[in-house]
């Protein structure tokens, strides 16, 4: 439910896909400026990459005696209030085997969504780039060692995050269209978010989550390209992809990455 609410929010404010929605509430406090995140490439173009938080920052994995203290700039992001209407109606009658199905119904759900006023915390990139010159990553760090063992993963650094400034309630309305004792119904789940200003309570909901102020709901990252000697660079342009310079071990895998990709698209244009 939290994942759906944050995803819906980004649909409205980030058509370019520069921000990533937070899926688990539990991850919210792990997202600090310069936190390290791994990005796992997926098999097919429609699959969103998977991100995993490493609970350490870029500063924690630099070689000894090197420090990074990011300059974080905070600014207003947006006040998010959305009004959604979901109008559904219909009747279906069909015969499935010996069972006759009747389905239909009418309904109008009008909901408002609001995370309230949101703030953006952003690392000063120019400063970070200047401070990172001559710095090197310790590739023998146990966490990075594990990342290197995996395939198709890229190291990224968190450079911005969007946080709430007030308590919000996320609720789920389940709407089922059904009639005449039909065996099939269209079930739609509408996720609604409400900023709480006067301790208002939402009624007629099946599930309700209250999230505290200062919860991170979205974040932005920059991929890192890490050379064999630990030197690294930030991939600032979209065309520039991160990764590790060193060759990966050719461990056998259960389903070969390339074979899986080519399985379907061998005859297709890119």
């Amino acid at each position: 439910m939290f994942a759906k609410a944050t995803r819906n929010f980004l649909k409205e404010v980030d058509a370019g896909g520069n921000l990533i929605s937070v899926s688990n509430l539990n991850d919210s406090d792990k997202l600090q400026p310069l936190s390290l995140v791994t990005k796992k490439k997926r098999y097919w173009c429609w699959q969103r990459p998977k991100y995993q938080f490493l609970s350490v920052t870029l500063g924690d994995v630099l070689t000894e005696d090197q420090f990074l203290s990011p300059v974080v700039v905070e600014s207003d992001f947006v006040k998010y209030e959305g009004k959604f209407e979901n109008h559904v109606s219909g009747t279906i009658e069909t015969v499935l085997g010996k069972v006759k199905l009747n389905m239909g119904g009418k309904g109008l759900v009008e909901s408002q969504s609001s995370f309230g006023t949101l703030r953006k915390q952003e690392v000063d990139l120019q400063q970070l780039i200047r401070d990172s010159v001559e710095r090197t990553i310790n590739l023998k760090n146990p966490i990075l060692h594990q990342v290197l063992e995996r395939r198709n993963e890229v190291l990224c650094v968190l450079t911005q995050k969007i946080v709430t400034t007030q308590k919000c309630v996320i609720s789920e309305h389940v709407q089922i269209e059904e009639k005449c004792g039909g065996m099939v119904g269209i079930q739609t789940k509408i996720v609604q978010v409400s900023a709480m200003e006067d301790g208002n309570v939402i009624k007629d909901t099946s599930v309700l989550l209250e999230i505290p102020a200062a919860t991170t709901i979205a974040y932005g990252i920059i991929e890192l390209y890490v050379k064999q000697d630990g030197q690294f660079e930030f991939c600032l342009l979209h065309e520039k992809h991160g990764g590790f310079e060193q060759e990966r071990r050719s461990d056998p895998v259960y389903l070969d990455y390339l074979a899986c990709r080519e399985f379907v698209f061998m005859d297709m244009p890119d």
């Binding site: 759906k4 819906n8 058509a15 997926r42 098999y43 097919w44 173009c45 429609w46 699959q47 969103r48 998977k50 995993q52 559904v88 109606s89 219909g90 009747t91 279906i92 009658e93 069909t94 499935l96 199905l101 389905m103 239909g104 995996r150 395939r151 198709n152 099939v184 269209i186 079930q187 739609t188 789940k189 056998p252 895998v253 259960y254 389903l255 990455y257 074979a259 899986c260 399985f263 379907v264 061998m266 005859d267 297709m268 244009p269």
Partner: protein, 228 residues
């Protein structure tokens, strides 16, 4: 699919041509014994109505494919209800996985790679469908109109028009049924309008990847539902 097209109308025909080779790639479904095909079809149909289960299934398939198990997959599996867990195991076994012990995990392996890749391909597309689209697809499965919808996409002219007098498209003459289909297609960024005895399909401005996903899911479900 944008290459070589000058208008939104052209997108559907390019997508149509580009996804034609997929038919052959779903052949592992067609080669399955009837009983296994029906079981897989029924399980997937149930998955369409269960958003949470679909998310976990996709995650488990992803880990199975990569041979790397992330802690989230185990956590997510543990949160499933017992019937969902049984369905998960049944799905993996039907899709060519050999499970060691009670749970899928690092000890398990893919014994039929082609079949598993096909099943994972379809599951991954279903999991990326927009909100409620999977449930609408499930309704279309129950109404047995998946082959009709797949045929609809295949017979669209370059202008995105098809004739409702086509015998395979007859089920769409029903207004209410057409309404359901319309909602499914709109969710996938394709607008469907009935005009007299024809249907006009247009890709919405700045479509996401959803039209491609709709082609893939309809193709996969159609192949899997042959026996059903």
């Amino acid at each position: 699919a944008r290459h070589g097209t000058s208008s939104q109308d052209g997108l559907l025909s390019v997508l149509n041509q580009a996804t034609l080779p997929l038919e052959r790639n779903f052949s592992p479904f067609l080669e399955l014994p009837a009983e296994q095909q029906t079981a897989l079809h029924n399980l997937l149909q149930a998955v369409l109505f269960d958003e949470e289960f679909l998310v976990v299934l996709e995650q488990v398939c992803d880990d199975m494919a990569g041979g790397f198990w992330c802690p989230q997959a185990a956590l997510a599996m543990g949160e499933l209800k017992p019937p969902q867990q049984q369905d998960l195991m049944a799905f993996l076994q039907l899709a060519g996985c050999r499970i060691q012990g009670e749970w899928p995990g690092p000890e398990g392996e893919v014994s039929n790679q082609k079949l598993f890749a096909t099943a994972y391909f379809l599951v991954s597309a279903l999991a990326e469908m927009p909100d409620n689209a999977a449930a609408l697809l499930g309704i279309c499965c129950k109404l047995q109109i998946i082959p009709t919808l797949y045929h609809l996409l295949r017979v669209l002219s370059d202008d995105g028009i098809c004739d409702l007098e086509d015998p395979t498209l007859v089920p769409l003459k029903d207004t209410e049924r057409f309404g359901i289909v319309q909602r499914l297609f709109v969710a996938a960024d394709i607008n469907l309008e009935q005009e007299h005895s024809s249907v006009k399909a247009t890709v919405l401005k700045d479509p996401h990847v959803f039209p491609l996903i709709l082609y893939i899911t309809l193709n996969g479900l159609c192949a899997l539902g042959k026996e059903h």
